[in-house]
């Protein structure tokens, strides 16, 4: 059956899709349809320890830290709350982890349905610093925010998981507020561009 995401044609935020190219100095990419998988609850971390090692990773990261292997990013959001972000161009790595989880016996946590509950936007460009300064109370400046860190915070007026590194920022947030978040991002980028050329004071 066809899946429809908020910014897809016919999606809840489809009219806002035009905003993606409307933010001055800011490139916005919608990754809501990218593969991801989350496990949560008792047993999730124990199961993921083995799965992550099988995927080529080392020990699980600390809470609010990220671990990487090619094609996968493991986000540890809590002691027993883990989410793996996949890559749309190399979905096999995540699919293998998911298949292993689906077939596992015993304690493995429960699905946190991140592939359905989260929207996922990727932001970059010269207006990014000034835009982020208007959207998030966390200091996300390069050098101040580690590329292996996770901010579980408010972003564009909503709860979000925020990652920053390599001159880009990714925000994962409740899928039902996609339109609202996108409006705020574009508005913030406009204000940043107007007042400080996209930068910060």
């Amino acid at each position: 059956m066809k899946r429809t995401f908020p910014l897809s044609p016919g999606g809840a935020a489809a009219p806002e899709a035009a905003l993606i190219g409307a933010a001055p100095g800011l490139a916005i990419k919608d990754r809501t349809d990218w593969p991801r998988f989350g496990a949560k609850g008792p047993g999730a971390a124990d199961w993921m320890t083995g799965a992550w090692a099988a995927a080529g990773g080392g020990a699980l990261p600390a809470v609010n830290r990220i671990a990487l292997v090619p094609g996968l990013r493991l986000l540890r959001l809590g002691g027993n709350d883990l989410t793996i972000l996949g890559d749309a161009e190399a979905p096999a790595a995540l699919a293998a982890v998911r298949a292993a989880w689906d077939g596992a016996d015993g304690a493995r946590g429960w699905s946190s349905w991140r592939e359905e509950g989260w929207a996922w936007l990727h932001l970059s460009g010269p207006a990014l610093p000034g835009t982020l300064a208007r959207l998030c109370a966390i200091d996300l400046r390069p050098g101040r925010f580690s590329p292996t860190a996770i901010a579980q915070t408010r972003f564009a007026g909503h709860d979000a998981v925020v990652l920053c590194g390599d001159g880009a920022c990714e925000a994962l947030f409740d899928v039902t507020v996609t339109a609202s978040v996108l409006h705020r991002i574009v508005q913030a980028a406009g204000a940043a561009q107007t007042i400080h050329g996209g930068g910060m004071p």
Binding site: K40, G41, W110, W113, E116, G117, G157, H158
Partner: protein, 941 residues
């Protein structure tokens, strides 16, 4: 009037003239001017009228310290003319005038000043009749109150908000702030320097001994982050600092903060001290040096501090005749400067100033001296607002009488004038020391402290001016509120001995300038009247904002925070009239045309065929883990440990007072997994409570919020089963296999679903929950499969009618903060045999008190009009309850309602009197059961 030649006028660009208007008259200024400086260049010193007596007023400091400069600029009221940069085309008008600035009808109020003492309004407006205040006085006073005019038709001008971070925030880029910032930046700190003026330097920008180029070069080399035209408006806990820059509110988190906010020039107090043309020493120097404006042609200078000599030297350089230099006290060490000026010197004080729209003469030692300008150097007070917000204690130096500030708060320091310095060298040294201290606190030790230099100007920086009341009054202490010395003395005589009480009785310090010119004089008057030291009197509490803020700036962007279900586009495509329910957008009804007809048609479709409703806004939770059933047993009132897998059970949640706060259903998908729904409105509370109790109880449970991840569609009506059976699915929908209150997992039209035999309409219903990305396609498949069966989508209003016909309650609409299950007739939902559930103990205790009111169904005769939610239920003519829900039932042909009624009137058949919206009394009848299908045959079918 011509401008002074360069080097005067460092801020203006003479090549860029700007034309604007003041009071309808065309005026020309220059780029870089403020409104007030451009007007001063034309000899226009009066800007507006005062609040109470409508006296003409103008700028005193030209530094934003007084309310006298508030003007109307186009539709924008309360613009500070001495701070707002001039723009071409501005339409500037005086504020608080009845007529014009020059001819103000309300200026006559000043003649009645003796009849309008402070607090007169507390006593005067009590009569002559009992309600005279409301009918007679209040409308008249309100018509006169307020400053400026707001244009309600003006489009909103939203502000902007943002967050900044730094190691060190320095407020004020004067000598101390610059030195502190430079020192800290040299030590490697990330420094944010915030300055209200359009350039850094503070007093150095107009002081002859400092070079502006040197300032700029120093800042550029250091690479500080400098925010110009930005004002620190508040100091909050944990060094959370609010900064307003134009229309943007920046919330800054700083590890360390240095406040170097400088001093505020103080006026002298004498008869007529408020006239336009009377300037502080700093104001005169700003006009000359920054804007190339000679303040007048003939000036008198009051030099109670050496600042007066600085101003006199600048006036002389600007070609202004100095009629007299008035020395109220000796200035040791400055005799040579006085002699060098070569102007008449009078030992004495200013006794009075005269003039109408501008000062025309002053009286000194009994002599009248003609002048058009009076420059006053009466000392400064430290800008205490921000330090005192941060917890600084104001006092007075016992030797000099100078106001002092003592601040002991980790992470926050004072530098320069606010730290008690006066001379330039001492002020710079104070800044450097503060910068080094901040570096140490940041773990970046730099150099050892340098000894503080002598501050020879300190002893002369304060003047204890005499504060005796003038018999003729008009010796103003507070310009904002037109308060005189006598007003403060009278307040103390009334018994208001403490400064906070004096403030509340007189309103001193309550105006836009927040006591910047009044605080010290008031404290000294109160101290003298109560025979206490000034330090014991202190200043009133300082609260944010330190300067006026526009509400639009605080509001920020008006971008709504809204939630959309995954079916939002489907609703719009069907022509739905969307309505907000909390943050959600929901379809109120579909299609165009008559609203009621459309809604009744939707309801009829459900009763006669099949309807589908988007229920994605329901809260959706998975409670999973070995103790999931135990968790629900404690949280909800029914039993879940005994609930079979594949069954759905009602959920009723109470708070610890035994009041109903939510309801929903729990579908047991596995021994250790329940899928739980909660109402749209109460979900946030339920989710929060679940997280709280899960942490409290420590059970082996995980709770996942799937509200956004899953969407829901309710398929309801006599044809619901037929519609589903027409779709490809691996679920057996037959009643024997899928009975009422059963739950099944499977696929429908390729979508994974969790199906539940539940509904809110009283009809045969299936609720299909599916991952959100699948629901648009599932909706389309249902619409296609249902078309032959008469299926149509229905909206929120039809849903409300249908549920009311069935007698289902809506939590939050049919309940209030105290509603108990017994009042709602839901005792059946309480498993009192359980050892515990939240609210159980309160239910037991409340049962001992009995039930005073009950929620009952009411019917009204056909044709009844005037009913509405919240209409009162009367008992013996007195309010005894109210309608919680009411609607016309298209199924029954008359109005039905739910209502709280006295328990004695709750029996079926009882007649209840309701007061209609139009005041008429309407009689309804209590029903025993739901209005539609009381035997539940339809929904169980």
């Amino acid at each position: 009037m011509t401008r002074l030649p360069p080097p005067f006028g460092t801020r203006i660009d003479r090549e860029r003239p700007l034309r604007f208007s003041f009071e309808g008259r065309s005026v020309t200024g220059f780029e870089g001017d403020t409104i007030a400086s451009a007007l001063a260049a034309q000899g226009q010193m009066a800007l507006s009228r005062s609040f109470k007596y409508h006296r003409p007023r103008g700028a005193f400091t030209f530094a934003g310290a007084e309310a006298n400069t508030l003007v109307q600029v186009g539709p924008e009221p309360n613009v500070q003319a001495d701070l707002r940069p001039l723009e071409a085309g501005m339409d500037v008008r005086a504020q608080n005038v009845a007529g014009s600035l020059a001819f103000d009808r309300d200026a006559a109020l000043g003649s009645f000043a003796r009849f309008l003492p402070v607090g007169f309004y507390y006593r005067t407006f009590m009569g002559p009749t009992r309600d005279a205040w409301y009918r007679l006085w209040e409308p008249r006073i309100r018509a006169k109150a307020g400053l400026g005019r707001v244009d309600p038709t003006r489009p909103a001008a939203p502000g902007d908000k943002g967050y900044l971070h730094c190691d060190l925030l320095v407020a004020g880029a004067g000598p101390a702030g610059l030195a502190a910032a430079a020192e800290a930046a040299r030590g490697g700190a990330d420094v944010l320097l915030v300055e209200a003026a359009p350039e850094v330097g503070g007093t150095m920008t107009f002081a002859t001994q400092c070079d502006a180029a040197v300032r700029a070069e120093a800042v550029a080399q250091l690479g500080l982050r400098v925010m110009m035209g930005a004002t620190v408006t508040g100091v909050f806990a944990d060094n959370w600092i609010s900064v307003v820059q134009e229309r943007t509110l920046w919330r800054v988190r700083a590890r360390e903060v240095i406040l170097a906010t400088g001093g505020i020039d103080q006026p002298a107090v004498y008869f007529g001290n408020d006239l336009p043309g009377i300037l502080s020493a700093g104001a005169a120097r700003r006009l000359i040096r920054l804007f190339a404006v000679a303040p007048g042609q003939r000036a008198v200078v009051l030099a109670a501090t050496p600042d007066g000599l600085d101003a006199a030297e600048d006036l002389r350089a600007a070609g202004v005749e100095i009629a007299a230099l008035v020395l109220p006290r000796a200035l040791p060490g400055h005799d040579a400067r006085v002699a060098e000026l070569g102007v008449p010197v009078i030992e004495g004080r200013i006794e009075a100033a005269s003039g109408r729209m501008r000062v025309r003469s002053v009286q000194v030692a009994g002599r009248q001296i003609a002048c058009d300008t009076l420059v006053v150097a009466a000392g400064q007070v430290p800008a205490w607002q921000l330090p005192c917000q941060a917890g600084a204690v104001a006092g007075a130096d016992p030797l000099t009488g100078r106001m002092t500030l003592t601040l002991e708060r980790p992470g926050l320091r004072l530098a320069g004038t606010v730290a008690g310095t006066a001379g330039h060298a001492a002020t710079v040294a104070s800044g450097r020391a503060a910068g080094r201290a901040a570096l140490r606190a940041l773990g970046r030790p730099m150099t050892t402290d340098e000894p503080a230099p002598d501050d020879p100007d300190l002893a002369l920086s304060h003047w204890d001016q005499p504060l005796t009341q003038d018999p003729a009054g008009k010796d103003f202490v507070d310009f904002d509120e037109d308060l005189t010395v006598r007003d403060i003395i009278n307040a103390v005589a009334e018994g208001y001995r403490e400064i906070e009480l004096v403030k509340r009785f007189t309103t001193v310090g309550m105006g836009p300038s927040q006591g910047r010119h009044a605080a010290l004089s008031t404290a000294r008057i109160v101290a003298a009247a109560t025979a206490r030291p000034v330090g014991a009197v202190g200043v009133t509490t300082a609260r944010p904002p330190a300067v006026p803020e526009a509400l639009g700036t605080l509001a920020g962007q008006a971008e709504p925070s809204e939630r959309r279900t995954a079916l939002h586009a489907r609703h719009l495509a069907l022509g739905a009239e969307m309505q907000t329910a909390g943050a959600w957008w929901r379809p109120f009804r579909y299609g165009e045309g008559d609203r009621a007809e459309a809604i009744f048609a939707e309801a009829a479709a459900v009763r006669q065929a099949c309807g589908i409703l988007d229920v994605s806004t329901l809260g959706k939770l998975e409670v999973r883990g070995p103790d999931a059933a135990e968790f629900l047993d404690r949280l909800y009132t029914l039993r879940y440990a005994t609930q079979p897998v594949g069954r759905v059970r009602y959920c009723l949640m109470l708070n610890e007072m035994g009041a109903v706060i939510d309801d929903g259903v729990a579908y047991r998908m596995a021994e250790d997994c329940f899928y739980v729904t909660a109402t749209t409105g109460a979900f946030a509370r339920v989710w929060s409570d679940m997280a709280f109790w899960n942490a409290q109880w420590g059970l082996r449970v995980d709770v996942a919020n799937l509200t956004g991840a899953f969407a829901g569609i309710n398929v309801t009506g006599p044809a619901a089963r037929a519609v589903l059976q027409a779709m490809p699915s691996n679920i057996d929908w037959s009643p024997a296999v899928f009975p009422y209150l059963a739950g099944r997992e499977g696929t429908v039209a390729g979508a994974p679903v969790r199906a539940m035999r539940i509904g809110f309409t009283g009809e045969l219903s299936f609720e299909l929950h599916t991952p959100a990305s699948f629901v648009p396609a599932l909706w389309d498949a249902l619409v296609a499969a249902g078309a032959p069966h008469g299926l149509r989508p229905y909206g929120l209003e039809a849903s409300r009618i249908l549920r009311l016909e069935k007698g289902h309650i809506l939590i939050g609409q049919d309940t209030d903060a105290l509603s108990s299950p017994d009042e709602l007739g839901m005792g059946w939902a309480l498993a009192m045999g359980k050892p515990f559930f939240v609210g159980k103990r309160s239910v037991e205790l409340r049962r001992r008190l009995g039930v005073a009111r009950r929620l009952v169904p009411l019917t009204f005769p056909a044709g009844t009009a005037g009913l509405g939610e919240s209409c009162l239920v009367l008992d013996g003519g007195r309010p005894a309850g109210h309608l919680t829900s009411v609607a016309y039932s298209p199924t029954l042909g008359h109005s039905v309602a739910l209502a709280f009624v006295p328990a004695a009137q709750a029996d079926p058949g009882a007649r209840v009197t309701v007061k209609g919206r139009d005041g008429r009394l309407i009689v309804g009848t209590v029903q025993a059961h739901a209005f539609v299908d009381p035997a539940n045959e339809r929904q169980a079918g």
